[in-house]
Amino acid sequence: MEIIGIWVAAFLTLCIYSFLYRDNPFYRFAEHLFVGISVGYIIIISIHQGVIPLAWEPLSEAISALWAEIVGTTTPETRNALWGLFRILPIAIGLLFFARLSSRHTWLIRYPIAILIGFGAGVAIPNVLQANIFAQTRGTIEPFAAMNAGTLSVLDTFNAVLIVIGVICTLTYFFFSVEHRGPINWLSKVGIAFLMIGFGAAFGNTVMGRLALLIHRVGFLLNDWMGSIF
């Protein structure tokens, strides 16, 4: 079974690489198989790791607890399991998606969407503020504490000042409601220079990672697959 697996994997690998030359039946085959298999896998995962443990299990436990309540065999555990009944709410909200199938009731899907979007927006505000704005502003200021204490080397001092200049100029580039003229134009030009340097650095730094993936793949073809032939 393992050797078949290696051959299948190697065949599909080569199919995908054929895309580098041009679109062709092999690539089309691999692409469509890939889409089909991945959708299937996502369905499996969302049922087995989402619906069953989070909706089905608490709810069915709650229903048997409810039964225990009726026949009078309540225990502290079944009392606790009763909370699972609340899971009916999200299930009902989720079911509203099917309102899409009837054109008259399409508006009902706004409920789950509005709730999820509201949730995302609410969580984002304090967390983004704290982890990005607070932490990054603080990180820009902090080195100067060491400067006051006299523990910052000349190079570090230079770096800290450079970072402050860079942050302010880059952020100036993002000013939308004023025309970029005069000093603002000047600052935002420096900001663009910082951005370009940043992008160049990130690009150059990525090459390594991408090559790593290719090396790994070539290693598979040469060692695992070719190795199984010779």
């Binding site: 299948v8 299937g40 989070l54 304090p126 370009m196 150059g204 993936l213």
Partner: protein, 216 residues
């Protein structure tokens, strides 16, 4: 009313979530945890609809015999095999695992590795010193690339041996990443964060409501 009530829900959940971020009390944390689970329970229902659209797309292609319609059959084969075995027997079933490891994983990895080729062709095409900005992009990319491989320091230590310090190539790369790149990234992050916050406020207050679609 068909718009107002969902917007009210959006507002309610938004404000409640902000509150839970500031309130460590067990009640507010319990609410927070429950709502998180709600999100997870709601999503799979939308998944059903999405898969229906996928099936519709490909059934139409097969029915109309559009160009390359045969490949739509392959989508179905892949999906149906996975679902028929995986849904009743779970993701740890040996056939599902075999398909996953020998079909999906290699294709995932191969698609990703295409980037090694694309990054080379993109670099070759885009890195031309057409302007000062383009030159900065090009120059820093080159320096960082050289600093990223051990050979950079090897060459530095040979050629620049008269300099007081060794391993200059990787030092320079690190300095660019630590200082210049850091400053630029920080600027972007701060800007993006302001954008996120402002967008979130507009959403919570119902100023941004286009996601609800039209109608009454």
């Amino acid at each position: 009313m068909k718009r107002q009530i969902p917007l009210a829900f959006c507002f309610l959940f938004g404000i409640a979530m902000i509150f839970t971020q500031f309130s460590p009390h067990s009640y507010s944390q319990a609410v927070y945890k429950e709502v998180i689970n709600w999100g997870l329970i709601i999503s799979p229902f939308a998944m059903v609809l999405a898969v229906v659209t996928l099936i519709q797309t490909h059934v139409t292609r097969i029915n109309l015999r559009t160009e390359h319609w045969q490949y739509s059959l392959i989508v179905f084969v892949g999906m149906i095999v996975m679902v028929l075995i995986g849904v009743p027997f779970g993701p740890q079933n040996s056939i599902v695992e075999w398909l996953y490891n020998n079909v999906q994983v290699p294709m995932d990895a191969t698609m990703f590795s295409l980037l090694a080729f694309f990054i080379a062709s993109a670099a070759f095409r885009a890195f031309r010193a057409r302007s000062f900005e383009a030159f900065l992009l090009l120059a820093t990319a080159m320096i960082v690339m050289i600093g990223n491989v051990p050979v950079g320091d090897l060459v530095w230590n040979k050629v620049m041996s008269w300099m007081p310090w060794t391993d200059g190539a990787s030092w320079l790369r690190q300095w660019i990443l630590d200082v210049l790149n850091n400053a630029a990234r920080r600027g972007i992050i701060l800007g993006v964060s302001l954008g996120v916050i402002s967008q979130s406020i507009r959403i919570i207050l119902g100023i941004e409501r286009s996601y609800l679609g039209g109608g009454d």
